[in-house]
């Protein structure tokens, strides 16, 4: 295989993997910015979304309906999660909350096994299987969906946070919780909505990912972690940076696999994380920060 076409193929692979991480990272960043919570169960929302959607599709629902219903269901689950696990512990330290989300993630996985078992399930790609060829490299149409949807979410979020009242209220909450309360904005309600919406976003991410890599109870673990890393690399403070971070990791992993060996793939991402943490804890793109989301 020619050098250039391998290179391009690796870029495509990297973008595909990166878009998977990006979609999860968005939800992650939203929650963090609004509530200060680091949600290690974010990947599992994706998992729940994917499996629920597959169930509906297998019951005979058209894809669009299945997607919509699944997203709504997972959003509700997110809300329950917030009320039952986060809200009662809202005054605990970040570390405690982090571990609570780990516990919740276990619960999601366990319930998932009980409902869907351990075998991976398949979801057919949204627009068929014909791969697109470009300079001797191929990219799946589903990857384009993933990339597209992450960019679209980004645009929607930008609009939401910068152009709507609710969005600005939410930002206010983040900047100064007390002042926000004085103005009649309830941080607790914000927290509830932030987690719920992120859950829904995560579900959507899972549904988009499923045709590429299959869906099973444990798909959320590594994806959630890598998205976490992406967000941290991006600086945790805004979604575009997180998405950039996600694509960065995706491409880095891809190139490691392509030129070195696949065994080190995970180690590379975590090494990058450590480098960023030690030398640039505000993230690689932190020049932009000041304003969140």
């Amino acid at each position: 295989m020619e050098l250039t076409s391998q290179f391009i193929q690796l870029i495509f692979s990297g973008l595909t993997i990166g878009s998977i991480y990006a979609l999860i990272a968005i939800g992650f960043v939203i929650i963090y910015n609004i509530t200060g919570l680091l949600n290690l169960a974010q990947g599992d929302f994706a998992m729940l979304g994917a499996l629920t959607c597959i169930s509906f599709v297998n019951m005979g629902f058209p894809l669009i309906i299945a997607i919509a219903v699944s997203v709504v269901i997972v959003t509700i689950i997110g809300g329950l999660f917030e009320r039952l696990a986060i809200y009662p512990a809202r005054n605990s330290s970040t570390a405690t909350l982090l571990i609570i989300t780990i516990g919740a993630a276990f619960v999601f996985r366990g319930i998932s096994i009980l409902i869907w078992g351990t075998q991976p399930l398949a979801l057919r790609p949204f627009s068929g299987n014909q791969n697109i060829n470009f300079l001797d490299a191929t990219i799946q149409p589903q990857s384009l969906w993933a990339i597209g949807i992450s960019l679209l979410s980004l645009a929607v979020l930008y609009y939401f946070f910068n152009k709507t009242y609710l969005g600005k209220a939410v930002t206010a909450c983040v900047v100064n919780r007390f002042a926000a309360r004085l103005m009649g904005i309830s941080p607790q309600k914000m927290s509830f909505w932030a987690v719920s919406i992120s859950a829904g976003l995560g579900a959507l991410a899972g549904i988009v990912i499923a045709p590429i890599s299959g869906a099973s109870y444990d798909m959320g673990i590594m994806i959630g972690l890598k998205a976490f890393i992406a967000a941290v690399i991006g600086g945790l403070s805004n979604a575009p940076a997180a998405i950039a971070g996600a694509f960065l990791i995706g491409i880095l992993e891809s190139f490691t696999e392509g030129y070195l060996s696949s065994g080190y793939k995970d180690a590379i991402s975590f090494t990058l994380l450590l480098i960023v943490l030690f030398f640039m804890p505000n993230g690689l793109f932190s020049k932009v920060s000041g304003k969140r989301v």
């Binding site: 295989m1 692979s13 993997i17 075998q119 398949a122 696999e257 696949s262």
Partner: protein, 395 residues
């Protein structure tokens, strides 16, 4: 608050009492753990955790078979009491469960070991306590360890890698495919096959132009596959179980690599075809006759047994039986057969197992001997191809 604490302390004591209670009631001598009218058999499978895709059907098979035997008056009128533990794919659990079965539940024999690592951890316990152990994992170290430690009490109902790999190598040689790309999943299942491949490929004139590993959690391996493509192989071997092999197979298809693809018996499930879609077309792999049972000629000695197992399993559990469950079927019936012939003395059972010949099972026809505790050879496998979304016997 106080009540909560008392409850916890109570639970702690209860569990300790439960543990004590079990050990007292189990009583009886080691040789005759049949008690008066019950035959105790232990089972340890990975019904959850990473090994669940293999272990779940194994656990369900053994439970179904025990029920069937007990409905037919058990063995010589004695019912079987099955004590089954899920080792959750965790080695420590496997070891603890094994100890529990041997020391506390005092079983006559154990069937189990979904994952090679867990089986290997259980082996020394079986040997030391002189309890027959029939494993369903694939590593040949289970019965033929490199350090030559004793394995008198250990048996295995899977074809070892040193039986499966030669089958593949012979097939490749026959088709004149000598430059091979080898890809395996990064766990014991994959690496032990890889070792075997490297050991034997020379004898068949096969050359490995590239050897790669992929993670069991892989989403997209096209990056790694670009290197494979660069190395210009004539055929590709992909060694993993259904989920990860499916991703690799799909990626190969997407990269337009139209080479012959040979995979492991781990993909012999309907899920693989569903997950992989049209990319699965043409994939060839060695397998026991179970998945092509209907296509066998009527005079095939295994056909009847295979079809009965398939139908019973599907009827009870609503999904297709697979080779892994098949290995458990073999382990169980070999044991039952031995008990029927030799009674409930552990040593006699062991001897009987060792001398079992021409036993028609799911994975093949078994012929055990003192040196051969696996009992299967290449004839137990057929090369299967995926055509039009179905498994057919390959030419």
């Amino acid at each position: 608050m106080k009540k909560f604490v008392s409850l916890i302390i109570l639970m702690l004591f209860l569990s300790m009492l439960a543990a004590c209670g079990n050990s007292e009631s189990a009583g009886g001598k080691n040789n005759d753990s049949g008690g008066s009218d019950v035959i105790k058999i232990g089972a340890i499978y990975s019904a959850s955790g990473g090994g669940a895709p293999l272990g779940k059907s194994q656990m369900e098979t053994v439970k179904m078979l025990v029920e069937q035997v007990n409905e037919n008056d058990g063995i010589d009128g004695k019912k079987i009491e099955l004590i089954a533990y899920d080792d959750k794919s965790d080695q420590n659990e496997a070891v603890l469960s094994m100890k529990k079965l041997i020391e506390q539940d005092k079983v006559l024999a154990v069937v189990g070991g979904t994952l090679s690592g867990n089986a290997l951890a259980m082996v020394p316990l079986a040997e030391k306590s002189k309890t027959p152990f029939i494993a369903s994992a694939t590593s040949k170290q289970i019965v033929k360890p490199d350090d030559n430690s004793s394995r008198d009490w250990i048996f295995k109902t899977t074809q070892s890698d040193d039986v499966v790999i030669p089958k593949i190598l012979a097939y490749l040689k026959e088709k004149n495919l000598t430059k091979i790309a080898w890809l395996n999943v990064a766990n014991q299942y994959g690496t032990s096959a890889h070792e075997e491949f490297n050991r034997l490929k020379g004898e068949y004139g096969i050359e490995a132009v590239i050897e790669e590993e992929f993670e069991a959690t892989v989403d997209d391996a096209k990056a790694m596959l670009t290197r494979v493509k660069k190395s210009n192989p004539q055929a590709i071997i992909v060694w993993g179980t259904a989920q990860e092999s499916s991703v690799i197979t799909k990626n190969l298809h997407q990269l337009g690599m139209k080479l012959p693809i040979i995979e492991s018996q781990g993909i012999g499930t309907k899920e693989f075809i569903e997950l992989t879609g049209e990319a699965a077309e043409g994939v060839i792999f060695p397998a026991g006759r179970l998945i092509v049972a209907e296509q066998l000629p009527d005079n095939d000695p295994q056909k009847e047994t295979l079809i009965k197992y398939k139908e019973d399993f599907k009827a009870k559990f609503n999904y297709d039986a697979n080779t892994f469950g098949g290995h458990t079927w073999d382990a169980f019936y070999l044991l039952v057969n031995a008990i029927e012939k030799a009674g409930t003395d552990k040593e006699k059972i062991r001897e009987q197992l060792e001398n079992t010949k021409n036993f028609v099972g799911i994975s093949g026809i078994f012929n055990f001997s003192k040196d051969n505790h696996t009992g299967l050879d290449e004839s137990s496998l057929v090369m299967v191809q995926i055509k039009d979304g179905k498994f057919v016997i390959a030419e």
